[in-house]
Assembly symmetry: D2
Homo-oligomer: 354 residues x 4
């Protein structure tokens, strides 16, 4: 269970990091959307390993095959199946961890839950699973765009370095995806330093959605915020989420925290956006603002204390080709999940009124 997400726009991901292939099936995509494999590849390339000096040197092309649900360039309403075959899966390095639990990884919990596990590169728990999310997200973006909305994201903080300026144009100009080019440079250096020291860094990724229509979200459990929270915490390495002012709002008073309403061009707006674009779990029409905490990569080539499946003490050094910080590649994944939630809620909202 648990490999599906969404109510009307629903994806099911499958595949292991060192199995023959990975993929995703997207159900509930409306008919009539122009869609090509290039639309999808574009987003996948942003998530791909080996795309820059700060990502894992593993050389997967991550090429998507589009196997169903599109006919003559347009979606048909049938499930859309996307697949990628693993090319550069080197399982040899993993033989030695067959019976040892890597700290910070899901090795132990999968083993305990399922009784045995695919130990090669994390198997199902690998972040490689997010390939399918980004592919599905590319489709979701089309639905989101049809409503006049758009999703984007960036790295706000990495290795303790915070961005100080914001220029959206800068985001994709640097390899850490930071909207502040000065901070970006320092982040890149920090990653290099951590890598040299066989260690890793965490950070904060922010994703936003602009142009979102008012009315998205299904109270009371499928609130916009609640579904975004589930979506984000389902991403590997994410340990926290906040919307709008988030944790900071707890130190303000109600009179300060409330966003005042005013009318502008026949539309209700708010003067501030402390709420991050939702009220009562429903979008207000203001920008959706989401921040997530990404923990430092668990795979570090330093000696760590652990135990074996026989509960014997062991020391482990996790070799392999890992990202010293997953934040830059987490950006397209978080964007995809936000787009997926919005697409789903846009479709659900069509049934809100008779």
């Amino acid at each position: 269970m648990g490999s599906s997400f969404g109510r009307l726009f629903k994806l099911t991901t499958w595949g292991e990091s060192h199995g023959p292939a990975l993929g995703v099936v997207v159900e509930g995509c409306p008919a009539g959307i122009p869609l090509t494999v290039e639309d999808i590849q574009l987003q996948l390339n942003r998530r791909r390993v080996g795309q820059s000096a700060v990502t894992s040197p593993r050389s997967e092309t991550d090429r998507a095959d589009l196997l169903s649900g599109v006919f003559e360039g347009v979606t048909t309403g049938a499930p859309i199946s996307l697949i990628t075959y693993n090319k550069d899966a080197d399982s040899s390095k993993y033989e030695e961890i067959r019976d040892v639990f890597r700290p910070g990884h899901a090795d132990y919990t999968y083993w305990a839950k399922y009784g045995h596990r695919d130990h090669r590169g994390g198997g199902r728990s690998s972040a490689r699973e997010t390939w399918g999310r980004v592919a599905a997200g590319a489709i979701a973006r089309k639905i989101v765009a049809s409503a006049g909305a758009e999703v984007y994201g960036f790295v706000r903080e990495l290795g303790g370095i915070e961005m100080a300026t914001f220029d959206r144009e800068e985001i994709e100009r640097n390899i850490v995806r930071c909207p502040d080019p000065v901070a970006a440079q320092r982040m890149i250096e920090a990653i290099g330093q951590a890598k040299a020291e066989h260690d890793s860094l965490g950070g904060i990724v922010e994703v936003r959605a602009t142009g979102v229509p008012v009315g998205l979200g299904e109270p009371t459990f499928d609130k916009l915020d609640a579904l975004i929270a589930q979506a984000m915490l389902s991403i590997p390495a994410v340990k926290a989420i906040e919307l709008g002012e988030g944790f900071a709002v707890v130190r303000s008073r109600g009179s300060e925290a409330n966003d005042s309403f005013f009318a502008e061009n026949g539309r209700v707006r708010t003067r501030t956006n402390n709420a991050g674009g939702t009220l009562g779990g429903i979008s207000t029409g203001e920008e959706i603002v989401v921040r997530i905490a990404v923990k430092p990569t668990s795979s570090v080539a330093r000696p760590q204390e652990t135990v074996s499946t026989a509960l014997e003490p062991r020391t482990i050094v996790v070799e392999g080709r890992h990202d010293p910080s997953v934040c830059p590649r987490a950006v397209p994944v978080a964007e995809a999940m936000l787009a997926i939630v919005l697409a789903d809620l846009l479709l659900l909202n069509r049934a809100a009124r008779i």
Copy 2:
């Protein structure tokens, strides 16, 4: 849509704050659990208004009627229906906000989504809806207890005042549910001060689960963390969540953030618990640690800028009997949601292996 939560242990809440009644239907509760209405009332009383000087003076008794699913004191496997009739719903005060949107409330978004709204006390968006969650949570606690686990919560910070000491026994000894009696006293004073100033305070609530078996959580979208996040963000006024070290972990390195494994009494343990009890979205057996940000109550009796349904500018002063801070009453609600997630995952986990 959206009034149901859970996969196997599933609740559906219904009712408006000023309607005749509210309730909850719990599906999927296993047969064979001893259950009385007193078990449920015990938890409801912790959520009740009027229970102390820091809560709303509204005087609902919140008495639960148990209408189905229990026979001769034991659950039967049939849906459990619980209902409470509203006694002290005074709608007269709300007439003046019929056509005005209260800032920080769901008035505008409900109106925009559904075309009209029950304006009396927030209607469906009222925190009164959480009655059903706490009732269902009392049942979930029984399932959780049957697995040897337990859920508890407390106020960690309120109005900027942080707890400095932790004594679990203190929590229910003070009316703000803070495990530090000194901080508790200061919090109570801060609430009094805010109330006098017609304003409100936010805070941080922490909920924990101890004794949780290893193995709970359904990768990859129904991870333990992901479902907890959805559950918590579905609670009114909650704007952020973190597990374990949460946002703080982004400033540590992988070698620090990873929790080392060791063996103790034939069991795998971790030396630290930065992860907050989950790895790869599955419980580790360590304590589950969850913190949520609760915004200051939106209803404040101070003039606020807003607009009417006709988009005319208005100034509003929200009168009524509101909690100056909802944190103390949010504790049993957050506990209930955590218990519900755990109960659901405990049942789902029965199907993990052949």
Copy 3:
């Protein structure tokens, strides 16, 4: 599990035949539908016991209380909760079957599945549960009507007596709901005869939907036919279902069974309707035609062989106030289920295209 039905328009029924109350919660009803408790009571009265000489003399009024989801006479989009309190539940007669399994009833299977059971009048397995279905169906009918469609049903055969003529106006003029007044009279006599002999009769109920828009049904598993089949087989005592020509079609050839298309007033029509209004699991716009087999009432006051919970042989005579044939009261239940499926698919269909 299993007490909920529907994807967007979703009902959850609860309650036992001899518990304090029964009810239903309807989620996903769009906002903006005028709805009164009278709309619902009208349908409930058609299902009620004691309505005529051919039904059980139990005297429940089945009065519905409407507790949520409607404000100022219009649905709000919030869950609609409906409840009825049991008035005439006489449990005394059931004490003697506490430890004996009635043949044809769910006594044994509930006991085996859940470990204990509410033996009073069948508890959860009682057809009294259908109260909530008819109530929810009354709401579904409003959605169906908004699309220009309508559902109706009748008794086609009872106790071996088949209808020979069809006049829709006749259906509600006789107490067996048969569109052939002559056959109706014979059915009524057959029921009287069976009752006098302490026995019971089965029959065939037909439900139809006219004016259904083309396009309803979600291939491949949630086909219109498939959901109707689940809905109908979930009704107590129903053992078979067919659409259109149903079982009879197996003896025709493809060239005969296919319904030819032609155009009429700018619309695609079929010359015949052997398919019963669906092709590929999607409505064609022709009349939906569904027939169900209703077994004879299991409660008969004749000696029957059975065993006790201790597996000892017993002879049982099931006393009580039972319908000698449930067919007439099954009509509004089957209509309700068809309306519910159609309402759900109408809402789902809104997401079929971008």
Copy 4:
């Protein structure tokens, strides 16, 4: 929507008859089940075209690739992805029906629902979609077997010829899968005759499950009967279903229809099995008996009246390589669906009691 089926054991099929590939993803298969691609291929070969003189001569090998969820020959609890690439898809014949609706097919309804359609071989509505069901069914059979149960099926009637004797061993010995070798021979001749006349035949397929534990089924909407009904009516060309005595039971009286209980070897049994193995929607432990009506193949190479997408009258002769009767190949499909329902309910039943 609608391409998924199941609650815990859940399959999602994807793919079109003339697209590059088809497949299925199975979620919720418990870990620890030995599973090879040969286990699956064995069942797929029973569904394959070109397997005998009575099936379509299309020459798909239907070879399954197993892409995930199995490690070292054992299921891991992760989703199982199975795929087959189309080899012998000849789309050229379909060009002429691009703008014409074939009677008895889903051409018109798909076109009306989705606005355009993949006209090649029925696209998504093709029975080729059942490849994934049979593949998933092979996995479900393993779960069913682990509970000591088994599913099998056969052709009971074809082209008006009914079986007169039953020998289970005979079923797979003849190409129509009829347990009566004499009737089988006549059915084969009837198929040959119909084929020569460019026409097609329908029939009745029966599937049974033996050794099913008592207790499967989730009242009140997910009754065993109800889920079987949905499963069977979701199979292309199926128009009716009955359990046990089915439609025939309506002409018996309650005293006859009820199956008497007796005890045998410490187990509750019934003397007869009119109910077909379920009471109150829960399995009794007796054999599950299901019969479905399979309509004659809609593709017949005879002139039929129809209309074009422009609503102009047309005459169509459907050429192509079709089964003159799909009954023999419907057997493994119906078996698969029954196994899937049972596997799902077996897993769900683990949560029935504390």
